[in-house]
Amino acid sequence: MADAGGMRGPIEDYGRGRIEDYALLWWLVIVVAVLSVLPIGRLLLEGIAPGGALSTEALRRVLSSPTTWTATGHSLVTALGGTLLAVLIGGTVALVVTLTDIRHRNVYIFCFVMPLLLAPQVVALAWLQLFGPSSPLLKMLGAAPPLGSRNPLYSPEGIILVLGVQYAPLVFLTLRAGLRTLPRELIEAGLSGGAGPLRVMRTIVLPLMMPPLLAGVALCFVSCLGNFGIPALLGIPGNYLVLPTLIYQRLAGLGPGALSEVAVLSVLIGFIAVIGIVAQDALLSRRDFRISTASVVASPFELRRWRLPVEVALWTLSFLVLALPMVALVLTSLVPAVGVPLDAATATLDNYRFVLFDHAAAKRALVNSFGLSATAAIAIVLFAIPLAYFLVWRRSRLLRVVNLVTEVPYALPGVVLAIAAILLFLKPLPIVGVSIYNTVWIILFCYLARFLVLGLRPVISGYHQLDRTLEEAAQIAGARLLRRLRTIILPLVAPAAAAGALLIFLTAFNELTVSALLWSSGSETLGVVFFSFQQGGDSTYAAALGVLTVVVSIALMLSTLLMAGRLPPGVLPWRD
């Protein structure tokens, strides 16, 4: 009898394991459906059947308008240009910082990632001032252009430049996570075989790094495509219309049917984003990127006499991208009013006093934004690890669709996702009868939907680089899927997952466009308060809040070093 039980056990176990697999899969699919398909579907309904009656009026009007296609063309130009620049900057920096012997590596990585925390508008504004006639720096050098000269950033090139700089850390973080699984032996083999460093880079490193690189490219592309802040600041004065600004324009001139037109335009953006992912998939499916050993690569290339010039180049970049906007922000936060020259007599801490003590919402916003972005980052990554397991290793038509739809909420302008969420949650939830409208939960829902892809792409690229034999061995040994995920896979994809979580946290922390429509008293976010100040002409308060945000975030990021010892290796990008 004991014998018979022994015979039956594994088979029964296998069957139960399969049921569990399916249960997990369907649970994942349902969550994606709720987060991604539901909002898109509701929006689509508004586009083709406003008020419940089928009408192709909006569709016809949008698709026949030449403005739509001008904006689409411009969107493609800026998104592709911005992505290219971001890949050049972020990719080069990731390779140099990880694979060479530059000094102060960890500090540099920290500084390179920081700009993600500055709202795109802040960076763009700082650069506008930098190149403009009132530039404090150019004035100091006596080289300020005369009053009235046109700012060169008000142009498509300006938009591409700021987009590329803003999103370079996306490529950097995904690629760095990938590089940390690169086995040292491969590079050493190449080098001892007589290949030069550049040849090793071209024939060994880059081919193996395609999954994380492409994940970074894909993230950059949707980020640039859906970005509103930069083209709004630089494109509106330069008369350069892109899809997100066109959508905002339609919303501003709210006539009858505007919502339907907005919905149709949004679907157009979603469509472009999906094409981008299909292209990425096609590139990835042709090859095998698995890496079987995991000895951590440790700066194999010595730069020798090139080390100093490379270091100077890197720090110059950080100076332009991080230090300059930060200095501009700090200077603005210290003057009593916009345009007052800063000197010993005018300098004041009043703006900080106001933001910290007189303005109740600013403090609440800091707490809310921290809670929302940390929750979103952790929840998404924990969800992305099992989801990516199925997406990479159990491919099916359904899963391919799942992979595509996760992209859309991030590609839509935030204001549109917010409108979709309002349409969905205006009435109390069915069955439970509770309403999340006008609470912080509707913002959390949107963050989960919107930033899912930021966590998913790096994790997927992590799977692409995993050799599955370990997991299969565990499966043969009888470990169920959840257990394999926890004990085998989690430690191996942890660096990629951590990069994703960091991306989500930094992006959500000062997110504006979604919460601008969804906040209610008590659930303010940092972006909302920042926007309120700026819109009312109180740029000095906005600057003080911006500086505080950065200071708090730096403290949070540094505090991660305290628990570094307990984390799997390679999880913190700024720690070797």
């Binding site: 509106i236 004065p237 330069g238 324009q249 501003a252 709210l254 009013a337 409108i419 008293s521 926007f531």
Partner: protein, 332 residues
Amino acid sequence: MNLVSRSSFIVAALVASVFAASPIEAQEVKGKLVLYTSQPERDASQTVAAFKRVQPGVDVEVFRSGTTEVMGKLAAEFAGGQPRADVLLLADAATMEALKKDARLLNYREAKVEGLEPSTYDADRTYFGSKLITTGIAVNTAAKLRPTSWADLAKPEYKGQIAMPSPLYSGAAAIMLGTMTSRPDLGWGFFEKLKAADAVAVRGNGAVMTAVANGEKSYGVLVDFMAFNAKAKGSPIDFIFPSEGLPAVTEPVAILRTTQNAAAARAFVDFILSDEGQKLAVSMGYIPARASVGMPSWYPAGAKINLMPTDIPKVVQSNSTNLKRFAELFGN
């Protein structure tokens, strides 16, 4: 009909339908009131605080954002069949006119409009201007030239130095466009000259203010209070009243038909139009709709500001053609 508290809604409605001819005088209103507004944040919180001093029984919930964001939220709520707002306090009459056309606004026939300029409120009493926000010329104090008229801005000396809010992204700027293009002395020719002078249209008044105060542009087409508030805080900015006159928006207040608390909503409108509410607007730096309560401190003493009359229905009607023409002219 004035006394409709939510708890006794049915009874009150019955009573009201019987005694409609003799409205009961409101003593005190209660319950929740939801306000959607595009006022600057500080103004919004001051307005609510002052209203609560008059009506302590009302619990006011505020949603404040840009006009476009407020209207976007409202449009989504309409589409979802359940608008949550009771009262609106929004930048311009054109937006209100569009809502009125969609039958979204409640008539408040008993509103106390005595002493208000008739052009500031809707003849059907669905929306009521709360103040006058004029648009003039802001000048950086370091600028060499001082324009005295709109026409001056079109001169070659000003080339490349002008910022203005884009009517494509701001309802108030769209009214300005409609008002100025319909005048024989300015018309579209004026905007064509502005374009030829490389004027840039930015996303909103806040951006114009920052550009002029920073010296990025020497001149800006800007609303009065923003220039004067910045000047009071020390920004190097002046405000000029152009000789042709100034277009103005009225930041109207209105009640939604679907309001859940009509009594409190009416009390809010009463407060905004009352001497007290109007004085509050003056203290925040606005020209009040009720001239009798005084003028803000920046107002030129003894002078009368020359306002450009705006034909709201006409502006609304020609709005989409205007915006299209503007977009073509300025390059989009």
